[in-house]
């Protein structure tokens, strides 16, 4: 310890303090501040760039998600459209069928009606003809019958007997 104190050089101590403080001030001004600032700036830049990249990535993901959503929506819309179209088609076919059925029914009914009319007319005609023919036949029969006097009398008798007086 005594040797240490003995060896202690005040001059060296003095110079060390002066030189070190001077060096500290010079380095601070000309080296450390610019270096640390530059490094900080660089790190800040890297951080910002990374953040920007991250943002871009998120944006990208959003865009992808959006497009996917759009695609999904479009697909769903197509599905519904197809479904609707199919329904419309089915409905149209069903409608057409029903309409055709109704129309057919109507035609058949009209046909039946006209047939009925024709039939009635024909029957009426036949009846008339039958009546005429019957009158003619009766005329002819009567002529034949009423050729002799007896017969005529007889008929008158019959007819008179049939008449009931009230």
């Amino acid at each position: 310890m005594e040797k240490l104190i003995n060896e202690f050089s005040a001059g060296l101590f003095f110079w060390q303090l002066i030189l070190f403080v001077l060096l500290l001030l010079l380095l601070r001004k000309f080296a450390w501040k610019p270096i640390l600032n530059a490094v900080n700036e660089r790190e800040e830049g890297i951080k910002n760039a990374l953040a920007a990249a991250e943002d871009a990535k998120k944006e990208m993901q959003n865009v992808t998600a959006d497009s996917e959503k759009l695609l999904r929506e479009a697909r769903a819309e197509r599905e519904t459209m197809l479904k609707e179209a199919r329904e419309i088609k089915d409905k149209m076919i069903a409608d057409a069928k029903a309409q055709a059925q109704a129309e057919g029914d109507k035609i058949v009914a009209a046909a039946q009606q006209s047939i009925e009319g024709e039939k009635k007319a024909a029957i009426a005609d036949i009846k008339n003809q039958v009546a005429e023919l019957s009158v003619e036949i009766a005329e002819k029969v009567l002529r034949n019958e009423l050729d002799n006097k007896n017969k005529q009398l007889k008929l008158v008798d019959d007819l008179v007997s049939n008449i009931k007086l009230k």
Binding site: W15, L17, L19, V21, L23, L24, L27, A31, I35, R42
Partner: protein, 378 residues
């Protein structure tokens, strides 16, 4: 790094080569005893660990038996009734008396004493000179190395700073090598110990102290033979700066922690008894922390140098074919460890300084956040 490593290998080779030669020379001529050699090695190591007033690269004894020193003198600055500035070459490596403005000075064990014209020193019983010592503000070898290191740091990090301005965010050139270390100091030393909020104002000190210590430690491993960080005056100056910074930036909570460590956890009569012991310990702690810093760095670097030089000194002890390879192998291994220690000590000093700054700047509401953050980390 590689260059330093390479020069280290070269240095060991050169040392072994030259020392083997000189050993051969020395052996027949004066036939020193083993004890004598040991004493000489001890003196040499001690001389190396000390600061000196001239930059001595190496010395040898020439054919005429004169000691030749290769190096260059440094300015001596004394305050002795006025400023005295002269070249250290006037001392002739401590062999002659330097006369300046009618005053006489002599160099004895790297210290300058005022003497009479003949350069006589009087000693006390502990063999310390009793002569007057003028205030010595010389640019010594250590000061010189500090200036060199300072300029190197300014150039390196100044160019790194400029390269940011020139090339945008990506540094170019040699400075690039140090950017990760700057970031390491910021993230794992400053932010980890001081916290995100307040680390910024301590950054210049932490970075400067880290690179200053590291570079000087590395210079200590080169054949220049400097031992700046292994000098107690240097580490004391650094520790005092840490001490001042810690206590001047101390928050209310920091001082409260020292003078009222228990807070509201205990009624005053309970605290009174405990605080008689606790508060002095806390106050002592303020001084012990930086003191530990200065001793740790000083002792580690000095020990490294002593071990390395002793291993190289083995050559002179063994003086045989086994000495060279053994000394080489051991000192090479220790050198590698010392390269690690150079970095490690710089790291530890900076780390602990940051830790103390962290204590000083802590505030209670942040404290909890910090704890949670640490829990989350572990």
């Amino acid at each position: 790094m590689r260059m330093i490593f390479l020069s280290r290998i070269l240095a060991v080779f050169a040392l072994i080569f030259t020392s083997v030669l000189s050993a051969k020379d020395a052996e027949p001529s004066n036939g020193e005893t083993k004890e004598g050699i040991k004493a000489e090695i001890d003196a040499y190591i001690e001389h190396h660990l000390q600061d000196s007033h001239d930059f001595n690269l190496y010395s040898y004894t020439n054919d005429a038996g004169e000691k030749v020193h290769v190096g260059f003198p440094l300015p001596v600055i004394l305050w002795d009734d006025g400023l005295k500035v002269f070249s250290s070459s006037k001392f002739h490596h401590g062999e002659t008396v330097a006369e300046v403005d009618g005053n006489y000075y002599v160099l004895h064990h790297a210290k300058i004493y005022k003497t009479n014209a003949a350069g006589d020193l009087t000693y006390d019983e502990a063999h310390h000179p009793t002569n007057a010592k003028p205030l010595d503000l010389s640019i010594t070898k250590s000061v010189f190395m500090m200036i060199i290191t300072g300029l190197l740091l300014l150039w390196l990090f100044g160019s790194l700073a400029r390269s940011y301005a020139k090339h945008g965010a990506i540094p170019k050139g040699l400075g690039r090598l140090f950017e990760p270390i700057v970031l390491y100091v910021r993230d794992d030393i400053a932010i980890a110990n001081i916290g995100e909020k307040k680390y910024k104002r301590y950054m210049p000190f932490l970075l400067t102290v880290f690179f200053f210590i590291w570079f000087l430690n590395m210079f200590g491993l080169t054949p220049l033979g400097v031992n700046v960080t292994g000098n107690i005056a240097v580490t004391t100056a650094l520790a005092i700066l840490v001490f001042l910074l810690t206590n001047f930036t101390g928050t209310k909570d920091y001082w409260k922690h020292i003078f009222d460590p228990l807070g509201d956890g205990m009624p005053w009569y309970g605290k009174a008894i405990i605080y008689i012991i606790l508060v002095p310990i806390e106050i002592l702690g303020i001084f012990i922390k930086p003191f530990a810093l200065l001793i740790r760095l000083y002792a580690n670097m000095t020990a490294g140098h002593v071990v390395l030089m002793s291993l190289i000194g083995l050559i002179f002890i063994f003086k045989s074919w086994i000495g060279g390879p053994l000394s080489f192998g051991l000192s090479f291994a220790i050198s590698l460890i010392e390269v690690l220690v150079a970095l490690l000590q710089a790291y530890i000093f900076t780390m602990l300084a940051a830790l103390y700054f962290g204590f000083a700047s802590e505030e209670h509401e942040h404290d909890h956040d910090h704890d949670e953050a640490e829990l989350a980390h572990s």
